[in-house]
Amino acid sequence: MSAAVTSPASAPVRRRRRPHGPGSARGRAAASGWLFLAPMLVILGLFLVVPVLMALWVSMSDWTGRGSPLSSDVSFVGMENYRSLLLGGGLATQDFGTAMRNNAYYVLLVVPLQTALALFLATMVNRRALRGRGFFRTAFYFPSVTSSVAITVLWLFLFSASGTINAILARLSISGPNWFNDPRGVLHLLLGAVGVDTAPESLAQHGFLGIPLWEWLAGPSVAMSALILLAIFTTSGTFMLLFLAALQAISSEVEEAAVMDGATAWQRFRRVTLPMLRPTVFTVVTLGLIGTWQVFDQIYTGTQGGPAKTTITPAYLSYSAAFQNNQWGRGAAIAFVLFAIIVLLTVLQRLVLRERDTVPRRKRFYRTPPAPPAALAGTVTAAGAPGAGTTTGTASATEGDDR
């Protein structure tokens, strides 16, 4: 793919000759390699592959939760659980549609905001001039190491009808909502403020996944908004750490060179620092996407899906369908649909954040680049690689981005 264009120089390096055979030193090394890997493979198989395959089977069976799902009185029902979930139009579909809507707004707000906040915090605590950097780094990271249950409970107190947040709002002569008991959608409230408080005919009539389009446009409920703030508060510290590591990997010479070129602070950030952070941005957005689509603990400890189902998420729905209502097939089906959504969005996001083959024309500073873009891309990836080590692997520095 693109690597063929961007990094022709690196290809020969990778195609090293590897003379080996069963009796050779390399062959023996490979055998002992497998030996060392074996315990991990067994553990992964036992705790990951087998359960996933069994869950896949449950999602296509009529298992009622008694005895083994592999026993002979459990029968294969094909895609029936998926059909009733996605196309049935009954309560199962409506619940799933509601959960998808809630979670979509959650992701849409949490991921960009927490990424931006994490980047902002990292840039702030990375400044050499800042006094007490250690203190701020610890303080911002602190919510991340606190148990999410404890922090959710704290949030319930802060946002209760007579809690701290409402007390502060009252000082400002604003009468705060009853946060965790307010099912009204934020977008509906905004639309209501401009006089649109009932559904236009076209939006009320048509729907998707069992709920009308007007309901899709409700936005996150007030209760969900509190949970969105909670997620941003707790996770931006973690991602700040990733950004901070990447920022410190950027050589100060690059910055100096930009200063010498007369770039302003904003230009240095926008045109030098940010492009070099691209692998980390990818990591943070990917982790954020996966984490936010799987949100469960805050819902389980905080709201149990209420008020008026505006905080149910697919992950919580999967749990309650399986464990509370004994609809094991449906619960497993929800989990696999959620899995598909996460994979799809991650791939999509990978495509969007992919490094371009060439620098777009309008961003070129020179008519003929002084160095081939490939070399430039190579340096950038190499510099950013340590920060991206958690997901993309350091190998990307030499191999381009074709993996």
């Binding site: 067994v42 083994s68 309560l91 189902k309 609809q327």
Partner: protein, 422 residues
């Protein structure tokens, strides 16, 4: 892609090893996947019994442990009581693993699900005191006309009145509301700046009492047809909406409290609708609040309330069924139930203990007298989702359309009932 032949072979090798590993693992697990044959007759005894309960607190745990220890001493069978932190989930895990607890609590709304998938051992015909249970409780726990598990105890909803607030509003014993109009009236008179007349949880398990008073039901008598969108239910729900809209009644959540008892105990509400479990909360958390308990007022169709109950389930997969049934026999006997009542206030599920309970709790007779007109809550298999959805819609009843709410619940409940019938 740049895969070299070497890479391809390695991929093949790793896939092969992976598949072999999975197969080996599946073979190891083989013995665990065996079918357990259905046993119609009681399995033998002698082994130790495990009992799984969902406890309301130390008082209940200690009382059940003491009762089980008593029985162990008499019968010579070892038995241990475990308290579940999440009973539904732990039961589900037990049934799925094929090794559930022998005896456990089953809530009415989970009963149909467990009975339908054969997790429960039907032992009702082996109990000596089967005729002594309240008939409506026996209905709740019967499948195919047979009592499956013995009702443990039960609760009804009644009206709890804060006597301090009552007197402060100039109300007397004669003003205790007997009709909806009188309820509207006293709720209005009890409403002050920081106190509403009536505060209760915005859910079917409370609001449903008004539907019952209006003569409404959720299903027909044999549970095959949903009857949610009846004119009676509409009348009941409209009355609740009027109460809420008048400002003299409010949901507990809207008062910033978790449930009716908290709204009542903190003084945010002068009256609430709760069951007899409220007595424990009042003595523990709000010992200074004086209150009295009266029957709920009558609606257009007379008196009505809801009742809630649990039963003692015995696992179909248990190896000690005869011992387990013997234990349940002991736990549901009149004397033992009165001992439980004394320890943590529950109402006995046998009629012969009713008088004893009234002696124990002369202030609370309204609860047990309400048994005469109490309605069971819906417990059809799969109805839990419908009720959750109903509750979600009830939260916005104040500004919602009662007819539309009932219509959607009707559709959902009918779909569940149809699915069960097919």
């Amino acid at each position: 892609m740049h895969s070299t032949p070497t890479r391809g072979r390695r991929l093949l090798a790793s896939t092969a090893v992976g598949v072999a590993g999975v197969l080996a693992l599946a073979a190891c697990g083989g013995s665990g996947f065996d079918d357990s044959g259905d046993e119609e007759t009681a399995s033998g005894g002698g082994g130790p019994l495990s009992i799984l309960i969902g406890s309301s607190g130390d008082a209940e745990t200690d009382a059940v442990k003491a009762a089980v220890a008593d029985w162990s001493e008499q019968s010579g069978v070892e038995a241990t009581v475990q308290v579940a932190s999440d009973l539904t989930q732990e039961l589900s895990q037990g049934f799925a693993s094929g090794d559930p607890a022998d005896v456990f609590y089953v809530s009415a709304d989970q009963f149909r699900t467990y009975a339908a998938n054969g997790s429960l051992y039907p032992y009702g015909d082996q109990l000596d005191n089967a005729d002594d249970f309240y008939p409506s409780l026996v209905d709740q726990f019967s499948a195919d006309g047979q009592l499956v598990c013995a009702p443990k105890d039960f609760s009804t909803l009644a009206l709890i009145i804060n006597t301090g607030a009552w007197e402060a509003a100039g109300l007397t014993d004669d003003d205790v509301p007997a009709t909806w109009d009188e309820l509207t009236d006293v709720a209005g008179r009890l409403t002050t700046g920081d106190q509403v007349g009536l505060g209760f949880s915005g859910e079917y398990a409370r609001v449903g009492a008004f539907l019952a008073q209006a003569g409404g039901t959720m299903t027909n008598a044999d549970g095959t047809e949903a009857t949610v969108d009846s004119s009676e239910n509409l009348e009941g729900l409209t009355y609740v909406q009027q109460l809420l809209a008048s400002g003299s009644a409010a949901y507990a959540a809207d008062l910033g409290t978790g449930w009716g008892g908290e709204a009542f105990g903190t003084g945010a509400a002068a009256m609430t609708i709760e069951g007899n479990w409220i007595t424990g909360a009042m003595s523990n958390d709000y010992p200074d609040v004086d209150y009295r308990v009266v029957e709920l007022p009558a609606g257009p169709a007379g008196q009505g309330t809801l009742q809630f109950t649990n039963c003692w389930g015995v696992a179909a997969d248990s190896d000690n069924q005869s011992d387990a049934v013997d234990l349940v026999q002991h736990l549901t006997s009149t004397d033992q139930q009165l001992a439980f009542s004394e320890a943590f206030g529950v109402m006995p599920s046998v009629q012969s203990a009713a008088d004893g309970w009234k002696e124990l709790y002369p202030e609370m007779t309204a609860f047990i007298d309400s048994a005469d007109f109490a309605q069971n809550v819906v417990n059809a298999q799969g109805a839990a989702d419908v009720i959750t959805d109903f509750n979600a819609q009830l939260e916005s009843l104040k500004t919602g359309d009662p007819a539309a709410i009932l219509a959607s619940v009707q559709t959902n409940l009918q779909a569940v009932l149809d699915e069960n019938a097919s």
